[in-house]
Symmetry: C2
Subunit: 378 residues, 2 copies
């Protein structure tokens, strides 16, 4: 279902877990949702048709990568990111801020914005809250993120507070820059590091801006999972219940399960695709390192019950061989398997919330992971 | 159509060009045929379903690579190469000799065979004519090649003659080792470098062995195209007309067109797959270097008339971006396009022979290549 404007509906709740649906002109997003990461206009090693067929309702594009190559103006000239990358469904873009901090050189940040050098060719670029939104609009992004400053943890309270307060001010500037774009949305980002009172202040400040959705940023940046979950416990109750909540850059299947249980609706992470390129498979049985010698002569598939051909139709021995030989097909297949598992997990989560058995589903899922992989062949 | 034994039928000829069909238990091979190269049990960056859908009736596997990794005995244990790699149609394997010469270290060759060190881990291996056939049988290869010694040109007549004579003796040993395998075939390989009288002696000697097919080897190893074609002019008339003829490791679309015109039925080459991983696209309009700046903002596909999604549905600008960014999808798409073009070219060749207009088809095809790519966007 599509609507001519951005809309979020809560369909069911189970404890703090929420089952919802975002509708917008390019399609509906069933939440909780996992968004595969399409950094530079491609979900690495996948055809877009495959990504869609797995059940992904939305993908993420990286503003930093796309502004540098091929360039936002060029993408606009070519009809926008959907047409360029052949993905007709919704796209969420990050603001570029996170990658400026983690990838670029010689970055300088002040109230006005960030200046930095491209990690590709050293060229100089400026990014202000306004320019970030302009780039995301040029990409024709459906859900755009405010520019924020994400402080890597551990950091001093002073640094975290300063960055959080500036991010709040940037949220206002982004809201103005975004203006009124029917059918699209701009989300704010809660910052505040690992300090509850700063998270609270950020969440309240952003809520006052009446944005269309709220992200929790600055987590999954090296802190223990417990800290991340504590911050969600502090933050989620302060965010408006009728707006979607997006936990940025998270995470492992376990992270997602626990975060849904704290009220998160959307996720993105490079983990399934990046791990897929290195032979690490996610499955109902937990993580499987297909490079391990135990798989070398194992004719069984990764998961015979999966609906994904990569998981169901190829022997572990073949996958093992491909990955050991650095064959591109190995990356294609394990990535496919991983994205399939991530989407299946989200579908299972959604169904369990509808059935008011999210807690039981969580427990069963975690127990299956803990039991581990099927026994090696005798 | 399949048959319970290996069979070759000439369906039509046009000048020296031949339209034929090999039938065997795993399927029919329409000739002239191009065999995509599946070096290590994968046609790089492709799903096997795609390779099949493009019209490939047979693929090639490399004995050298597969014997080293994952190992012939292991492949046999896993049900053979077809089951391992999920390719149910016929497979031709080379003997391993060519790659031993080009890839391995510390190789020593004598009448008995070759000893060499793996280029992967330095392990020592022996390869005799008998062991080569044994390995190919363990792989369950449908068309097996004799072990030969391929001399890199330029070389002295003495060296070429010695290698050719030994290859002839090895052909006999391979024939004995192959024995009677119903539904399968062992091909001999004509050697003799660039020396017509040696090519003649080799072709006649092999013909006397009454093998099921004949390859022309030791060409496309650095000599000018003219020399290769001259050797075909000498060799083909001496090979039995009722047996298939396979030109090993060839080649460019132009090489194939000219070789079909001299009586060749089968080809294999890494060119479409290797070039595809480096952004070089083959097309009706000749070669297209998608990295070229002229494509950066070109919304048009590589070839709107192609039936291959990679050629028809993706903009040149997107392909350009993917290849410039070293994205795996760029390799996947250009490889797909290239194999599609190679198969389309063979289909066109086959239809033209049936219609008794191969010469006209050749001229039209070469003229289209010569006209080059569509003009850049104004």
């Amino acid at each position: 279902m599509t609507t001519d404007h951005f809309q979020f509906k809560l369909l069911a709740t189970d404890g703090k877990a929420r089952r919802g649906e975002i509708t917008m002109p390019r399609g509906a997003i069933r939440t909780p949702a996992f968004m595969p990461v399409g950094t530079g206009g491609t979900v690495k090693a996948m055809y877009m048709d495959q990504v869609s067929d797995l059940g992904a309702d939305i993908i993420l594009g990286n503003t930093y990568h796309l502004m540098l190559r091929p360039g936002a103006e060029r993408v606009a000239k070519l009809g926008g990111l959907h047409e360029f990358a052949r993905w007709p469904k919704p796209i969420l873009t990050d603001s570029g801020g996170f990658q400026v901090m983690s990838l670029s050189a010689l970055r300088k940040i002040n109230e006005q914005g960030v200046t930095f050098q491209s990690h590709i060719d050293g060229s100089r670029h400026e990014m202000s809250p306004e320019r970030s939104i302009e780039i995301q609009s040029l990409l024709d992004s459906d859900i755009q993120m405010q520019l924020d400053e994400c402080v890597r943890l551990p950091a001093s309270e002073t640094d975290i507070e300063r960055a959080m307060e500036m991010s709040l001010r940037w949220a206002e500037r982004c809201k103005v820059a975004f203006g009124d774009q029917p059918g699209k949305a701009m989300f704010g980002i809660v910052q505040g590091g690992d300090i509850p009172k700063l998270r609270e202040r950020s969440a309240k400040g952003l809520s006052g801006l009446d944005l269309k959705g709220y992200a929790v940023g600055g987590l999954a940046v090296g802190e223990p999972q417990e800290v991340m979950l504590d911050m969600l416990d502090v933050t989620c109750p302060l965010l408006p219940a009728e707006k979607p909540r997006y936990l940025m850059g998270v995470g492992t299947p376990d992270d997602m399960l626990k975060s849904v249980g704290r009220g998160i609706d959307m996720f993105d992470c490079v983990m399934p695709t990046r791990a897929g390129r290195h032979g690490l498979a996610f499955s109902r049985h937990g993580k499987i390192n297909i490079k391990n010698a135990r798989h070398a002569e194992d004719h069984r598939p990764l998961d015979e019950e999966s609906s994904c051909p990569a998981a169901r139709d190829y022997s572990r021995a073949y996958l093992h061989h491909l990955v050991r030989s650095n064959e591109i097909l190995g990356m294609m297949l394990i990535t496919w398997n991983n994205l399939s598992y991530y989407q299946d997990l989200m579908a299972g989560i959604r169904a369990s919330i509808e059935a008011q058995r999210f807690e039981a589903f969580s427990t069963e899922t975690q127990e299956a992971w803990a039991r581990g992989d099927i026994p090696p062949l005798g």
